[in-house]
Symmetry: C2
Subunit: 241 residues, 2 copies
Amino acid sequence: MSALYDDETFFAGYSGMVRSKEGLAGAAEWPAMRALLPPLGGLRVLDLGCGFGWFARWAAGEGAASVIGVDVSERMLERARTMTDDASIRYLRADLEAFEPAPHSVDLVHSSLAFHYIEKLDRLFGAIHQALSPGGRLVFSVEHPIFTAPSAPGWTVDGAGRKVWPVDGYQIEGPRTTRWLGRDVVKQHRTVGTYVTLLLRAGFTIDHLEEWAPTLEQVEARPDWAEERQRPTFMLMAAQI
Amino acid sequence: MSALYDDETFFAGYSGMVRSKEGLAGAAEWPAMRALLPPLGGLRVLDLGCGFGWFARWAAGEGAASVIGVDVSERMLERARTMTDDASIRYLRADLEAFEPAPHSVDLVHSSLAFHYIEKLDRLFGAIHQALSPGGRLVFSVEHPIFTAPSAPGWTVDGAGRKVWPVDGYQIEGPRTTRWLGRDVVKQHRTVGTYVTLLLRAGFTIDHLEEWAPTLEQVEARPDWAEERQRPTFMLMAAQI
């Protein structure tokens, strides 16, 4: 992951994406994620895979006592630091495959579209559970298993001319290599059941599971979102200890 | 549902299925379901959509204090009664859309492949929650949302010759009419997220969510199960109050 986001061409492509330029407002699923978050006033917040720090800055603005943004890409953290002058935010370079936050050091862990890159998610969920204070929450999004499963992820047309999403290999978990922004990107495909099971095994209680879809009103405003009603791209989950 | 299973041709076809003739042993997902059940000794058990009573008889054999099998089809219940002479089992004809078991009257509710026929599943989950005694469990299977979603459910071949499951309409919940055993059958498609949300809203804690797949060893013994690894047919869930 570090090498990927630190690659110049990939980084330029990533920086040009709507959600990179506009931040949370450019992320279709953000209102749904926000609805899962508790009031942030006074909370110690940890953001895993913080990227350019959009969430960290929002959390600080909402009154979080402290925000630690963690990312593996030094290049992304540099950009995040140049956009921040809030003393309550700290950026930290770490590989989430090995990151060990201090026990009972945070009240809320947030992560947006990062966990599907993690191989040892059981280890990370265990580390997050330990890091949370009593009553603490984990709120995260990942690419949906229906989205990550296919050997050839992309819309196809069936014999009757219907546009369909071609699911295969759903139960065969493990790496999927796809082309994104001109680079080979490796994601870890897991079933919905495995996400739930890993959370329960780590000791979490499941609070929420949502497969994000735009409303009909949203599709009217953004016709390019219509296909999200045909198959989900994002899965949002919330859990507490 | 009543009219469907009471239709002579459909009933004959259903009666001829492996899982109808061999019972639990003929259901591929049964070992996984069984693993979710507590020891049954002394428990009051309710089986929703009991069909020919295979589960009810098994539960009685495991030492359940009482077993009530509920089904909407009188024809199925007649057959169930002729196969039973266990005083701890009682069969009851009721429509699950309106069934109201007595509060705190059971310790375990089981249901196999019935809930995807139910329109008012929020009502039924509420009734089940009320019926369970403290510490009680609900264990059920449904057809998986990936299986029920498509407008044309059936394997198709993509442009590159890959056999794929054609997902569309995943986020569009509601009735799906499919042909089965020579009859139009109406199932209710719901997302995974909705099953989870309805359970949480009814007051349940989620204990387990599993998308059943055969192991490689099972596929070696039953090569016709191989496609179950490409997309799930069954979703198994366990919850407690």
